[in-house]
């Protein structure tokens, strides 16, 4: 369970996020929606513990980063937008490193790597260096990396970018499956993804949370019952 209270983040004079409040429970797939610069990535970074908030707090299972950082982090799996890998490592080495870092017992490492490789169709590239991989593979490797230790909260910034339609389909199914017991938070501006995936939409604009609703509700706000139209009208109105 994630509880966000009065969260705000400033970068100097820029107010990236202001006064955000929401709660997410297990079983939720939450889509963070918003135009560029709305503060989606910043919110994800705050949720993942990479950035420290300027104000407010994030509670994860009743604990805050300030007091229990090392207990919270194993529960979080965060893949940034750029899906960074260590280029000089092979995929296998990267997955092994991630599972070690995420405290997966050594006895389970091989099995778990085999599982995620199969899940994300990585078997063919296990011995390939990360830097030689295509964009789609890189993203899948990055997701597989954080999934080795099965985190309870998965935070993914634009997770399907660079994937072909088949891969997108596969990965969305995986998220749906994974979110049955866990929390999945994704940020995206692909409306189709929001519709197909999420149980909940958090619409951000200019650092503010302007809507906390479901995709279906959001679509209803537009005359043609279209999510994209609704998104445009809400965000443009705000201008």
């Amino acid at each position: 369970m994630i509880t966000v209270k009065n969260l705000s983040k400033d970068f100097g004079a820029i107010k990236a996020l202001q006064n955000i409040n929401f709660t997410i429970s297990p079983g939720d797939i939450v889509a963070l929606l918003g135009p560029n610069g709305a503060g989606k990535s910043t919110l994800m970074r705050l949720l993942s513990g990479y950035l420290e908030p300027t104000g407010g707090e994030i509670e994860i299972s009743g604990r805050t980063y300030a007091s229990h950082r090392m207990q919270i982090l194993p529960e979080i799996g965060y893949v940034p937008e750029s899906a960074p890998l260590y280029g000089e490592m092979t995929v296998f080495e990267f997955l092994k490193f991630m599972s070690a870092v995420r405290n997966l017992p050594t006895s389970q490492t091989s099995t778990r790597i085999a599982e995620v490789s199969e899940q994300f169709e990585l078997s063919g590239v296990l011995n390939q260096k990360c830097e030689t991989l295509s964009k789609g593979f890189k993203r899948r490797v990055a997701i597989a990396g954080v999934l080795t230790a099965s985190p309870r909260i998965l935070i993914l910034d634009e997770p399907t970018e660079g994937l072909d339609p088949n891969q997108k389909y596969g990965i969305r199914n995986f998220f749906k499956e994974y979110a049955r017991k866990n929390i999945v938070i994704i940020s995206t501006h692909i409306m189709e993804e929001v519709t197909s995936l999420s149980s909940r939409v958090l619409l951000l604009n200019k650092g503010k949370l302007i809507k906390d609703t479901t995709a279906a509700h959001l679509s209803e706000l537009s005359p043609d019952n279209n999510l994209e139209t609704a998104f445009r009208s809400i965000t443009n109105k705000d201008k």
């Binding site: 400033d10 004079a13 296998f92 790597i113 296990l126």
Partner: protein, 636 residues
């Protein structure tokens, strides 16, 4: 927003403050640990090169007022002479140890005597010796020790050859500053040893010990025709032949007045025959005097020793080729036969004597005698004249077993009687002008008697590539035997100058030789046979030439055409032989250079390649293991 900016500012401020605090504690910790621990360091050198001897510590403890040490070190040295630059670091580090130990009464100042600067003039005026350098520049590396009372001491030049004596030299300089005044050493000899004119002569290179002693003492020559020893702190007599009996009377009376005497007698002085062939070679007439102080002198006999013999290059018979053989009269007295209990000889490794005489000791009434250097239990002896005039093979052939050990040097202390039944000057007018005749001691005397004069010859106790420069620069010596240490300690002891008492040289188990020197030695060893052959031929021809020249001089006659022809032929041969020697040296040198080039190049290229290969192999095996692991997962 204002709140958050304030928060951030506060955070920055805290970090800055904390950093400053850390910086302050860094300074505090290091200055404190520096003050506490800089005097106490582990000395990791196997020969404790960075540790000062207890004698030095005593000298430092004796420093009660500030001593200023100005080290003149040309900055160009590091570029032009890396060996010296390396040594300079050693010297400065050791001086720092002195300073730390002295409670900072010693002030060190390092000055760079740049060419044509005021500092250069100052250095030159203080007596520093310049080193040869590129172009017109002069490089300096020496030190001037001085105090507020105007006393000063100069080390004209520090040279790496003196490495093992560095502490000795520095301590000597400090003790000199704290010492009241220079004592006077009188030197009398039948050889022109301490004559003011002789120092300029080429022969001076054999008598370096005088230059070295002159650093600490005032040396005055004393004529052997005097009937009374003037007021000196120590009298040194080197008697290789007969001395006027009046002089013996003077020495006798000097002893009875509580004199301090170092007496060197020699039945067969090799150095005298080499340097002064013109001086008549008669047996020394000191027997009675020596007998009187408890030393029975084996008159007209030269001692030999199988066990401690050094090697000489000669032919055992006319038909045989010359080569190295043990030559018994050349004795390298080793630690087993050096008196370890006496402060005069403790810690010595070896003392080299050549064709020495021998003493047997007997304690007498009122005085004690102690042997300092001796032969092994089974000494040999032969007639002094044979050793003087015969060839080496004959000397070896006619050496007799003596079946006992003899002393080569001894210390006699106490009171004595005169050896003269009556005053030999009794009825002369001269008797009135000198001190009255004594029959017994009025004060206890100290006498060190040594039965060899060759012990003094620089060639017998030091070497170095530039042996010909010894006269110019006696500081360059690299001692091979403790001969000079023995003389110096003896003089220090007799002059009652324990402040300057010798600190024994550091023994260095790590090699003090450079690799180039070792290679050169190896190459020369390969060519030893040829080299020795030619150099003995050269020596032979040189001797022949000298003999002809002396003959010509002493007969003051003109040479006949035949002798002139002979001289020319000899000169030609000598020239050829010198060229041949030079050629051998050149060959050795170019071989050394070739070896050095090969080693340098192969190391510079192969060590990196070898290590890279090694690391790459390990890396490859590890990544192959990881690849195998991955493959296993794929297959499963």
């Amino acid at each position: 927003m204002q709140k958050s900016t304030t928060q951030k500012l506060q955070k920055s401020l805290i970090i800055c403050l904390f950093s400053l605090l850390l910086l302050a504690s860094f300074i505090l910790i290091n200055t404190t640990s520096g003050a506490l621990f800089s005097g106490r360091r582990l000395d990791l050198t196997s020969d404790r090169l960075n540790t000062l001897s207890s004698r030095t510590e005593e000298i430092i403890a004796g420093i009660t007022h500030p001593v200023h040490v100005k080290i003149y070190l040309s900055s160009q040295i590091s570029r032009q002479n890396p060996v010296l630059a390396q040594y300079a670091q050693n010297v400065i580090r050791l001086l720092n140890r002195y300073r730390d130990k002295s409670g900072h009464l010693i002030n060190l100042e390092i000055l760079d005597p740049e060419p044509y600067s005021g500092i250069e003039t100052e250095a030159r005026d203080a007596g520093l010796q310049a080193l040869p350098a590129d172009g017109n520049e002069k490089l300096y590396f020496g030190a001037v020790f001085s105090d507020d009372k105007g006393r000063s001491y100069t080390i004209a030049q520090f040279t790496p050859e003196r490495f093992s004596y560095l502490e000795n030299d520095l301590s000597r300089a400090f003790s000199h500053i704290t010492m009241p005044e220079r004592k006077i050493i009188g030197i009398a000899s039948d050889m022109p040893l301490a004559d003011p004119g002789f120092m300029r002569a080429e022969k001076a290179k054999n008598w370096t010990f005088i230059n070295l002693l002159a650093k600490d003492y005032k040396i005055v020559p004393i004529s052997t025709s005097s009937a009374e020893i003037p007021n000196v702190d120590v009298l040194m007599v080197v008697a290789t032949g007969k001395l006027p009996s009046l002089f013996i009377y003077a020495v006798d009376q000097y002893i009875l007045r509580g004199g301090r005497l170092m007496l060197l007698v020699d039945p067969a002085s090799e150095i005298k025959r080499r340097l002064y062939p013109g001086i008549p070679d008669e047996d020394p007439n000191f027997d009675a005097l020596l007998d009187n102080i408890g030393l029975h002198y084996l008159s007209a006999q030269v001692i030999g020793d199988r066990e401690q013999a050094a090697e000489a290059y000669f032919a055992v018979s006319e038909s045989a080729d010359a080569q190295n053989h043990s030559y018994y009269p050349w004795i390298k007295i080793n630690a087993r036969h050096i008196n370890r209990q006496s402060p005069l000889t403790a810690g010595f490794d070896n003392v080299f004597v050549k064709s020495a005489g021998a003493f047997s000791l007997k304690n007498g009434d009122g005085h004690t005698v102690e042997s300092l250097l001796s032969t092994s239990e089974n000494a040999l002896a032969t007639a002094a004249n044979l050793a003087k005039f015969g060839d080496k093979a004959d000397v070896l052939r006619y050496m007799d077993e003596k079946g006992q050990a003899y002393s080569v040097a001894a210390l006699s202390e106490g009171e004595y009687h005169t050896i003269f039944a009556r005053n030999p000057l009794e009825n002369s007018a001269y008797a009135q002008q000198i001190l009255p005749f004594l029959t017994t001691s009025i004060a206890p005397a100290q006498i060190i008697a040594i039965a060899d004069s060759d012990i003094l010859d620089t060639r017998n106790w030091a070497d170095g590539e530039n042996i010909s420069d010894f006269a110019k620069d006696d500081y360059n010596l690299r001692p091979t035997a403790n001969n000079f240490d023995f003389i110096q300690r003896g003089i220090d002891f007799l002059s009652g100058n324990p402040g300057a008492l010798n600190i024994s040289a550091k023994k260095y188990t790590g090699s003090r030789q450079t690799i180039a020197e070792i290679f050169h030695q190896q190459e020369m060893d390969k060519r030893k046979e040829d080299y020795n052959k030619i150099s003995s031929r050269l020596e032979e021809n040189q001797r022949k030439l000298d003999t002809i020249n002396i003959m010509l001089e002493s007969n003051s006659a003109f040479g006949t055409a035949k002798t002139l022809g002979e001289i020319d032929a000899l000169k030609n041969e000598i020239l050829n032989e010198k060229n041949e020697l030079r050629k051998i040296e050149y060959q050795a040198k170019s071989e050394v250079t070739r070896r050095e080039q090969v080693i340098a190049l192969s190391n510079t290229l192969f060590i990196p390649l070898f290590i890279l290969l090694l690391v790459a192999t390990v890396h490859f095996r590890l990544s192959a293991r990881s690849r195998r692991q991955a493959r296993r997962i794929i297959n499963e």
